[in-house]
């Protein structure tokens, strides 16, 4: 019974995990990402230091850590978005579906169609309507089929729990929505191209508590179909909506385990000090 107390999640999510609270190194059958000895530099500064981690498929993995610990950078290394910043360099490998994302014959655009991303600041395209925003990824990637587009539009908005709120306003500008709706619109936009993974970079940090809860609920629903990696500053959020938690500190992965384990009995002292809010 005591083991269950730290858990702030629903039974649905947790039952299995609780049965073995002390052997919780995640050991998925087939990880979504196999990260091996990944290091990353901005110029001369090493931002990610030799990280090895297997990110489980169809689970929510939270990445926590203080500002500047490299958690966002690590997330971007998973779909090569870090390459937008000039003078970055990566060593090591990220295996995704059996392929190293960093092998020279891999096109980052193709990677990003399979590994979607949602950002901290909601960013619907200001010139586009709600519908256009959802479909922009498909259209600009060459999909012309009207029926398919309409079907994806409704499906994506439904999955993003936004359909009922916007179905009569699909022609209105995306930026006319509230902050929380805009973020769900961005999630709909990301899932419209049917990726396998959703990377979320502090998706709720700019939202009010109610909008935040809606996003968290959405994450819990989406994990049936997607592997989700979420970077968050909010430890309660990590403990509420993730299955596994990785703690980063100064570019290094300090601890990776079952979320219940991390928040009830972390193995590493640095993790304990960080999550309990002690002086570092």
């Amino acid at each position: 019974m005591i083991e269950t107390l730290p858990a702030m999640q629903t039974t649905r999510v947790r039952t299995v995990d609780f049965m073995q609270p002390l052997t919780d190194q995640p050991q998925p059958d087939a990880p979504a990402f196999g990260v091996k000895n990944l290091s990353m530099w901005y110029g001369a500064k090493e931002a990610i230091k030799n990280v090895t981690i297997d990110v489980p498929a169809k689970r929510v993995t939270a990445i926590i850590g203080p500002s500047g610990c490299g958690k966002s950078t690590f997330l971007r290394c998973l779909n090569r978005m870090h390459e937008l910043v000039p003078r970055t360099r990566v060593e090591g490998e990220v295996l995704f579906a059996g392929q190293n994302l960093y092998s020279p014959d891999v096109d980052p655009a193709m990677i990003r169609r399979r590994i979607g991303m949602v950002f901290q600041k909601s960013n619907p395209f200001p010139t586009m309507s709600i519908a256009e925003n959802v479909l922009v990824g498909l259209k600009l990637n060459g999909v012309r089929d009207r029926n398919l587009l309409n079907e994806r539009l409704e499906k994506s908005l439904r999955m993003a729990a936004l359909w009922s709120e916007v179905k009569d306003d699909l022609r209105k500008p995306g930026i006319s929505l509230s902050g929380g709706q805009q973020q769900r619109l961005c999630i709909a936009r990301a899932i419209a191209i049917e990726p396998e993974v959703l990377l979320m970079d502090e998706p709720a940090s700019a939202l009010d508590p109610i909008a935040t809860m809606k996003i968290e609920e959405l994450i819990t629903e989406l994990k049936a179909n997607y592997t989700i990696v979420i970077v968050t500053h909010n430890m309660q959020q990590a403990s509420r909506c993730s299955d596994f938690t990785a703690f980063f500190y100064m570019g290094a992965l300090i601890e990776f385990a079952n979320t219940a384990k991390i928040f009830s009995n972390p193995t590493r002292r640095q993790t304990e000090d960080y999550i309990t809010g002690r002086f570092g």
């Binding site: 083991e3 269950t4 304990e272 999550i275 809010g277 002690r278």
Partner: protein
Amino acid sequence: MEEKRHILGTFDEALRSLRENVLMMASLTERNLNHAIAGLLQRDDELCALSIADDAEIDELEKQIDKDGIDVLLRFQPVASDLRRVVSAIKMNSNLERVADQAVSIGRRARKLNQHPPLQEIELIDPMHRHAVAMLRDSVDAYMREDAALAREIKPRDKALDEMNSNAGRTLTERMGDNPEQLRGYLNLMFIARCLERVGDHATNIAEDAVYAVAAEDIRHMHKKPAIEEQHSPEV
């Protein structure tokens, strides 16, 4: 290893206050138990009455600690060792209150025994009392000093107390047959022995909570069959 302070000073303050109240609760409980037993052994009705009356104080403190514990959960959302400490404090609190209730029962029975000529078998109670109080004190101590080794020793010690209780039961049952006019007195003594045995159980619970707080381990019900353990598996 010295534990670092929290960035939030008020959090440290709240945890310290919770801890101090639990310690106070433990010492008041032990005092009540001592009063009740002394009332019996010294045939002192006033001490018996004291152990009953002072329970109100403990009830108040119990409510206060629960309130403080919930307040800490609410305000600081503790995790890891902090969470375990707060949860353990709340559970200890309830165990201590039950120990105090045993003291009340003992006080009541002792008062009844005091109205009759003394029974020689009262000597069965004293060693049980000392054993139970030692267990209680050590279990609280283990929590306060975060001493998992000490906490783990408590459970085996409960076996000895259980043994003493069944011996006392056997002896007293025999005496009832020999001496039926003292039946009521023997029953009261059996009841008091049983109360002390319960105190040992509560001390064991406290020790288990202490182990959880310190080592994040659940050592309860280890002797039972898995089928029974299943009933205690999570039902969040």
